[in-house]
Amino acid sequence: MNKLITVSPSPHAHSGESVSKLMYGVVIALLPAMLVSFWFFGMGAIYVTLLSVASCVLFEFLIQKYILKKEPRISDGSAIVTGVLLAFNLPSSLPPFIIIVGALVAIGIGKLTFGGLGNNPFNPALVGRVFLLLSFPTRMTKFPKLEGFNTPVILSDSNISDATTGATPLGIIKEGLGSGETISSLMEKNHLGYADFFMGNTGGSLGEIAAFALILGLIFMLARKIITWHIPVSIIGTVIIFTGILFLADPNQYADPLFHILTGGLLLGAIFMATDYVTSPMTPVGQIIYGVGIALITVIIRVFGAYPEGISFAILIMNAFVPLINRYIKPKRFGEEVKNG
């Protein structure tokens, strides 16, 4: 035979799964929430999403090619996922330069300084988001009123006022409790309802408003086996238990569990941000510990802290613990405990 045959160590078969397939799977799972944001925020949402994705991909390409001098690998889709997730964490009324700075921080500092895909200890999109939140606090916490395609695209500094912007439910509650009001009266006064939270008819950043769309994404990712149930379920479960205890203690001071689940970025964080492969633990037990930690920190920040929302900080804090969790939480080795029966 003239043709040379191939020799390699076993196994000789492969599942056909690939990084880009997984990443595009995540993008598909993000689509429902993206469409909801387009519906409620109109052109502003489309512009923020496109600009965020484009600048993330561009920075990934430029930095890899010209600064790190290695083969750019933007086709794996990880920069797209980061871009969409970053956009999901932004209000639709940001000026372009803030979004571009956010993308640069997310990709440049959050991801590539650590060695690129697979080596970053912190979730890049959240690094970008938290950077913006700390640098532009007013801009990042003013959300336009939901007016569909009539929502103004970019608000200049002069017209940021309560007339054109709406706060998030968590912000309203936090502010109201500070001035001594009770939860039920605040809910009534501001026309806050669970159905609106569920459908997305509420103030907030792009991706966090519609619970149903995020849950659709979760179901898709579970069905495609892109993620496992451990992280989302442990986060949501712990939030329910923790806020439930607080609610039973004093319903006037503490919101009920359902409110905590449906508002703010909790579902977005639990389903898409905390489950980021690179920055979450490797073993199921480790993932549950990680999820419980995120939930506890989130609720503590929300209820007792200065910020109305805490899941971004909670995820970043738990990201820092992931190497430790991986070091000490080992999978159950086969034959570890000898069962006879």
Binding site: L4, I5, T6, V7, S8, P9
Partner: protein
């Protein structure tokens, strides 16, 4: 306002002072008394932490030097005799001199000489490939070319030649630390005595196959014909397992064996062109001319 500032200054200073006291106590309590000469010796070492001496790092080697009665078996190949002499001075012991050495690759099976017989498609590592099978050419003794040696070389003395597919030793950078010797799964590297002007003559082959089979898989294989063995005036050549080996301790670099070899498996490096040599020396076989040509091409490649 002043009170606040005062309170801050006092509390922080107090905290600092408290921490300093704790640190001092801890440092005193857990102090490890070390021979100060260890530091001195470590200072004298090259600090490459290459492990060429057989210890995990320079400090471990320094500790061993301080502890040891004499320097038997303790030698820093990177620093060489100079460093060992200064270490000896610090410790007041007798220095042991060693001939400086250099690594050579005992394989010359370039892509041309040794055609591929299959395609390897596993992890790019000689160790992995070698654990799997004999290699992607007919010769199961030769270089696999995935560069495990280049990877382990801390002195940047090894590089892969893209044309031959073989690693090349940079004599100036090589410190004979022996990392490549350990890394090569085919055991192709040998640490040889450094001669004047980095001249060397060695059998660039480890194929133990019988002549015909060896020649079939690689045109520059040693076929174990013993011609070099017979011609060597200094008994520097050993024949074993169909393979010739030139002992660098005994070899006087007379170059007689090089011309004798029918397969050009003996390589000479760092010599002036053969033409002048031909006239000076006597009796070079009729094939001498051809030999010289191939050798000079190798020379240029290696340099």
């Amino acid at each position: 306002m002043n009170e606040t500032i005062l309170f801050t200054i006092l509390s922080l200073s107090g905290l600092g002072a408290g921490a300093a006291v704790i640190l001092y106590i801890v440092a005193q309590k857990f102090k490890v008394i070390e021979d100060p000469r260890i530091d001195e010796v470590e200072e004298a070492l090259p600090a490459a932490n290459c492990g060429g001496c057989g210890f995990a790092g320079c400090r471990n080697f320094a500790e061993a030097c301080v502890k040891a009665e004499n320097f038997d078996g303790l030698y820093c190949p990177v620093g060489g005799n100079d460093v060992m002499a200064s270490v000896a001075r610090i410790l007041g012991k007798e220095a042991v001199e060693q001939e400086p050495r250099v690594a050579v690759l005992r394989c010359n099976g370039s892509c041309e000489a040794r055609p591929k017989t299959n395609i390897y498609d596993g992890a790019t590592s000689c160790a992995v490939a070698s654990a799997l099978y004999g290699g992607d050419t007919g010769c199961q003794y030769g270089c696999l070319g995935f560069g495990d040696c280049v990877e382990v070389c801390t002195f940047d003395a090894l590089s892969m030649d893209p044309f031959t597919g073989l690693p090349v030793v940079n004599d100036e950078k090589c410190t004979a630390c022996g990392a490549c010797v350990k890394a090569c799964p085919k055991d192709l590297f040998e640490l040889r005595k450094r001669a004047k002007k980095d001249r060397k003559i060695y059998v660039a082959c480890r194929n133990e196959e019988k002549g015909g089979i060896a020649k079939k898989s690689c045109t520059v294989a040693c076929i174990g014909c013993s011609k070099c063995f017979k011609v060597c005036p200094y008994e520097a050549i050993v024949m074993e397992n169909n393979l010739a080996f030139i002992d660098s301790e005994k070899c006087r670099l007379c170059r007689k064996c090089v011309t004798e070899c029918p397969t050009n498996s003996i390589i000479e490096i760092g010599f002036p062109p053969r033409k002048i040599q031909d006239k000076e020396e006597t009796a070079v076989g009729p094939e001498g001319r051809e030999e010289k040509d191939t050798n000079s091409t190798i020379n240029t490649k290696e340099e």
